[in-house]
């Protein structure tokens, strides 16, 4: 387990933000930690959607249960957090 900084580019928000996650977090947990800084602050919740994590540069959508440590991310990598149907 190790702290791992990423940058959160949250759908419908206006700014990218620094979010500390853990190498053992799943992508669902990453999305949840990012949501804390956007949903209810500047972005309305969308209860009928799920949040998915996408690689900012190559567009890969990560499996929801993939761990940060497995995703091949560089420290401070920017990730898109998207509202999706599943």
């Amino acid at each position: 387990m190790a702290l791992f900084p990423i940058h959160s580019n949250f759908e419908r928000d206006f700014v990218i933000q620094l979010v500390p996650v853990d190498t053992e977090d799943t992508m669902d947990q990453v999305a949840e930690k990012c949501a804390h800084h956007s949903i209810g602050r500047r972005v309305k919740a969308q209860p009928d959607k799920v949040l998915r994590v996408r690689h900012h540069e190559n567009g890969t959508i990560f499996p929801r249960d993939m761990l940060v440590a497995e995703a091949g991310l560089r420290p401070t990598e920017t990730l898109d957090i998207l509202f999706m149907d599943s």
């Binding site: 419908r12 990218i16 804390h36």
Partner: protein, 499 residues
């Protein structure tokens, strides 16, 4: 003895050069300070600044200007304008003085470098006046706000801001260090006087003066108009340098300097001046929108001048024009949301009436920025003010040192332009910011922005309080909503009216 007429001696003295006997030309004008770029001395001697002045004329005119500005201040002091000014306008002044006053002192050094090392004698002559101009601008913009330090400690940031690691101060220092403190004389004449002063100080000192006059702040209006009369003279040092470079096979290098400096100035102005013009200035005092000012003072002016000088429009010109609809709205929302991290009190400028003005000036504002403000307003109305502030830091651009922002809401398009260079991952707010870095990575690669410093452990404890201490912001200086959130009441009133 009768004095010689001006025209009999002026051209001789302003072009006087000399042939060194005890040192070489290279020792007298080292390339890293001078920047002649291999162009011979006799070519630099053809440098022809369009605005010429003698020392007696200069002193006489400056005395009159100072008398005018100080007299207006003295006469209006009894009027106590600041006591009854809209808090948003007071924030405008506090933000302006903090970001500008000490940069003017720094500009004395830049002018002094040109006065000593510029390869063109005419440039050296003009820069002596420029040096005295900047001394005056530093002094007057410290003296005027000093009268208000009794009102709040934020006014003291006129002197304090650029000595701190407050994030906006880091951004301003990074820009001014780049274009005027670490460049040779020729580059300084182009990047500082042509790219920055010709357009952007016009915007700050004349555009803002128009708003000041509309708002009733005649002291500030007369002060900054007075400064701009100096700027419009010494800003003309860059044009003749550009002409010589273009005519001597250095167009690409000249174009690159212009392009970098204009872009960096734009990002800083989008952060400082954009919010002031479109959000802080009371609605009735707004003479034009920020975009309208930019189109008139920057876009039209630069297009004409660049083409006249044989240069091209910057390669990113269409991007810049498109950004006029967006970037400063993001910078404003960022500054307001992270309001404890600035030395002034940001005005939200988001009442229903103000939003109608924004939608008129920027069609689509409601569909984008308005979506974020809706959530903020709802949080106030439902008793969740803690949700109107941050719990983390925004990602900061490694070139402009301001947050990476984009369009939110229904037209969401926020993007980070990343670059891995020598094993370090850099983040940029636009393709152009990344290009500026790639033009000269050696110059920029070592700089640590606020996030880099945070991640390196320089900010302790690593939380908001640690961040505020690192930025030098103490109680009484920390920013808060300019109107004490009274603007939210306009929404309740709207609901009451509808009922």
């Amino acid at each position: 003895m009768a004095l010689m007429k001006r025209e009999e001696w002026y051209d001789l003295t302003r072009t006087t050069n000399w042939t060194p006997k005890y040192v070489t030309q290279e020792e007298l004008f080292p390339e890293e300070m001078s920047g002649a770029r291999g162009i011979p001395v006799d070519v630099w001697e053809t440098y022809d600044e369009p605005y010429k002045v003698t020392y007696p004329e200069y002193v006489s005119t400056q005395r009159e200007k100072d008398s005018g500005a100080y007299s207006v201040k003295a006469a209006l002091e009894r009027d106590s304008f600041v006591d009854r000014a809209d808090p948003g306008w007071e924030s405008t002044m506090i933000a302006h003085y903090g970001a500008i006053a000490l940069a003017e002192y720094a500009a004395v050094t830049a002018e002094a470098r040109m006065a000593r090392f510029a390869p063109a004698p005419g440039n050296r002559n003009t820069a002596v006046f420029g040096m005295m101009d900047e001394t005056r601008h530093g002094q007057i913009q410290l003296y005027f706000p000093h009268a208000n330090t009794k009102r709040s400690r934020q006014w003291d940031w006129a002197h304090k801001a650029l000595h701190t690691n407050e994030w906006g101060a880091i951004a301003a220092r990074s820009f001014f260090d780049d274009i005027m403190m670490t460049r040779d004389s020729v580059a300084t004449s182009i990047m500082l006087t042509f790219a920055f002063e010709t357009g952007f100080t016009n915007m700050q000192f004349l555009g803002l003066a128009a708003d000041a006059a509309e708002t009733g702040d005649h002291t500030f209006a007369s002060l900054i108009s007075s400064i701009q009369t100096d700027e419009s003279r010494h800003a003309q040092q860059g044009g003749p340098s550009l002409k010589i470079l273009v005519e001597n096979g250095k167009k690409d290098e000249a174009q690159e300097m212009v392009d970098v400096a204009i872009w960096r100035a734009w990002k800083l102005f989008a952060t400082l001046t954009g919010p002031i013009m479109d959000y802080y200035t009371p609605l009735e005092g707004r003479s034009q929108s920020f975009k309208e000012f930019m189109m008139e003072w920057i876009v039209a002016q630069f297009e004409r001048q660049l083409l006249d000088l044989g240069l091209d429009k910057p390669w990113y010109w269409d991007t810049l024009i498109a950004d006029l609809d967006n970037t400063h709205h993001g910078m404003h929302l960022g500054v307001w949301f992270w309001r404890p991290t600035v030395w002034w009190n940001p005005a939200a400028g988001a009442t229903p009436e103000e939003r109608a003005w924004l939608e008129e000036k920027y069609p689509g504002w409601e569909d984008t920025w308005g979506q974020c403000w809706d959530v903020i307003v709802e949080n106030f109305q439902t008793g969740k003010p803690e949700m109107t502030g941050p719990e983390t830091l925004p990602t900061v651009c490694n070139m402009s040192n301001v947050p990476i922002v984009g369009v939110p809401g229904n037209q969401w398009d926020v993007k980070d332009y990343q670059l891995e260079h020598e094993g370090r991952l850099y983040h940029f707010g636009s393709e152009v910011d990344r290009w500026c870095f790639q033009v000269d990575p050696e110059r920029y690669k070592g700089h640590m922005n606020f996030i880099d410093r945070f991640l390196a452990g320089e900010i302790q404890p690593p939380d908001l309080n640690g961040g505020l201490m690192y930025m030098g912001l103490s109680p009484g200086e920390i920013g808060d909503d300019a109107h004490g959130y009274s603007w939210v009441e306009a929404y309740s009133q709207k609901i009451d009216d509808a009922a």
